[in-house]
């Protein structure tokens, strides 16, 4: 006689096995959590090729998703920032995804492509493996909505103001000399982009990995841009081989408004005398008008050439690239200020310039003209 298991038991076992196999990738493992009163709604979320794999004691999450979001508010959206969390306290467990340069009308939908690799411990509380939350929305009137946990407001506002500055300049060229003048501007930007040396920068969390080269403290060369409300008085940084760490800065508010934060951009010189733009240091410093304060960080950066070879750093300079005031306003250098011969051949194109250059390269001059006139 055959020993038959009850059908219900067999079904349960089959379901359990299926659940165990798909536990790593089932849709319930990912959650998009938008506040109910947010002027942004989730239309759909396709987690398609996302997967999780165990790596030692950690879980490696590869996220490949397309979220379809809709502007459910009344104002036009210029930028959105999402916070993606696998584990708050794990290094590499959090990421943010920011989409500036949007122009989403009320009721319109738009896709958000998410390609990230995050870490989280294997043993964690039950619940979604990955949480996607809203960090902020910037509107066309420069109003902001959101919890701003990762300073989305500063990033979105700086991008938008910089984009308006650069579009205005290109539009002026268009109105002054027609499409040929605009083409000349775009070709000039393309040439600059192609000729600039690039350096790869890696944030290193735990400081120096080797002791091959002795570490030395070098003074930072401070570049001053016209009309900057904050002055970089002096600074120092510890350099060893391809690593720079623990910058110390002395900042002074030379303007009339209280300052909430500044961003210092870096130029790195290698042993061959070549100079590269190499990242920035956003620093929250409360500076009253006339006040001088130090700002210091313990972090470290590692520099390498595009082929992967270590870049030997000999000197670094810094300049104030943006200032956020306590009242929420921002200061950015003018385009004339950035014509500084020291910066001209080194500074990368702004995000908006690069976007318009890419548009010109792919879609032609008419597409750029339409963009400039639409976002006028």
């Amino acid at each position: 006689m055959r020993n038959k298991l009850p059908i219900s038991l067999r079904l349960s076992l089959a379901l359990l096995a299926a659940a165990a196999l798909s536990a790593q990738t089932q849709p319930g493992s990912y959650r998009v959590d938008l506040p109910p009163d947010a002027p942004l709604a989730l239309v759909s979320a396709d987690w398609g090729a996302s997967r999780a794999t165990a790596r030692g004691g950690a879980m490696l999450l590869e996220l490949h998703s397309t979220l379809q979001l809709r502007n459910s508010g009344a104002r036009r959206i210029r930028g959105v920032s999402l916070l993606v969390t696998a584990q708050d306290s794990t290094p590499g467990g959090r990421a943010s995804l920011t989409l500036p340069s949007l122009d989403i009308d009320s009721g319109d939908s738009f896709p958000v492509r998410l390609d990230l690799r995050l870490m989280r411990p294997l043993q964690t509380a039950p619940g979604a493996m990955v949480d996607v939350q809203l960090d902020g929305i910037l509107f066309d009137d420069l109003g902001f909505y959101g919890p701003n946990r990762m300073n989305a407001r500063r990033a979105l506002l700086a991008w938008e103001l910089e984009a308006r500055r650069d579009r205005k300049s290109l539009l002026a060229a268009l109105e002054r000399g027609g499409v040929e003048a605009l083409r000349t501007e775009l070709l000039g930007a393309m040439t600059r982009m192609a000729s600039q040396p690039r350096l790869e920068v890696q944030a290193v969390r735990a400081g120096r990995a080797t002791a091959i080269e002795p570490e030395r403290e070098v003074a930072l060369a401070a570049l001053s841009l016209p009309a900057s409300p904050v002055e970089l008085l002096s600074g120092s940084i510890r350099i060893a081989g391809d690593e720079a760490r623990a910058p110390h800065l002395l900042l002074r508010n030379v303007g009339s408004k209280p300052v909430r934060s500044v961003e210092v951009s870096w130029l790195v010189r290698d042993s061959h005398g070549r100079e590269y733009a190499a990242g920035a240091l956003p620093a929250d410093v409360d500076l009253a008008p006339g006040q001088t304060r130090p700002a210091a960080r313990d972090g470290a950066l590692r520099f390498s050439l595009p082929g992967g070879a270590p870049a030997s750093v000999t000197a670094m300079s810094g300049f104030i690239s943006s200032v956020e005031f306590a009242d929420g306003g921002m200061w950015l250098p003018t385009r004339q200020a950035l014509q500084n011969p020291r910066l001209l051949g080194v500074l990368p194109l702004s995000g908006e310039e690069e976007r318009l250059v890419e548009l010109y390269r792919r879609k032609g001059l008419d597409a750029v003209v339409r963009q400039l006139q639409k976002l006028r």
Binding site: G56, P91, R94, L97, S101, R205, L301, G351, Q371
Partner: protein
């Protein structure tokens, strides 16, 4: 089982005979036996039940059928794989790197945890890092004009 279920006095023939004095038990027994024999004889006359026909051994399945089934299976599996594979499998541009020391290795000698940028071949990608431990990648899609800034945090 039936006998076991009966009370003991019901099995005692003398008790039964006393209980029904008018019944000729010997005649009744003879008739029962005759009925049983009749049943057996009738069964024999009717003949043995025809043996259940053995199922004919299945005819060999032609090769083309096997080929069709296998082809269909290959098609279904292939289509499943093709549909399940993302058409656009982008390389994540920002990844965290946690280097775990090998067992027995001095933990101080192991490379520190950090972040690594996997820069796509596209020239429209730019990466940055800052002393707060964050690493950023700026991606520009020339087709749509969309910009994406991705950032991972060390702390």
């Amino acid at each position: 089982m039936l006998r076991a279920a009966l009370p003991a006095e019901a099995l005692d023939e003398s008790v039964a005979a006393d209980a029904l004095p008018g019944v000729a038990w010997s005649v009744f027994e003879a008739e029962m036996r005759a009925n049983i024999r009749l049943g057996l004889t009738a069964g024999a006359l009717a003949g043995e039940p025809e043996s259940v026909p053995q199922p004919a051994s299945p005819a060999p399945v032609p090769f083309w059928r096997w080929a069709t089934v296998c082809g269909a299976l290959v098609f279904v599996l292939g289509a499943g794989w093709w549909l399940g594979t993302p058409r656009h499998a982008p390389t994540p541009v920002v990844q965290s790197v946690l280097t775990l020391p090998v067992e027995g290795e001095d933990a101080d000698a192991a490379p520190p945890a950090g972040f690594e940028l996997l820069i796509p071949a596209s020239g429209a990608a730019r990466t940055e890092a800052d002393f707060n431990g964050a690493t950023r990648a700026r991606l520009i899609d020339g087709e749509t004009g969309r910009v994406t800034l991705q950032q991972v945090y060390a702390q």
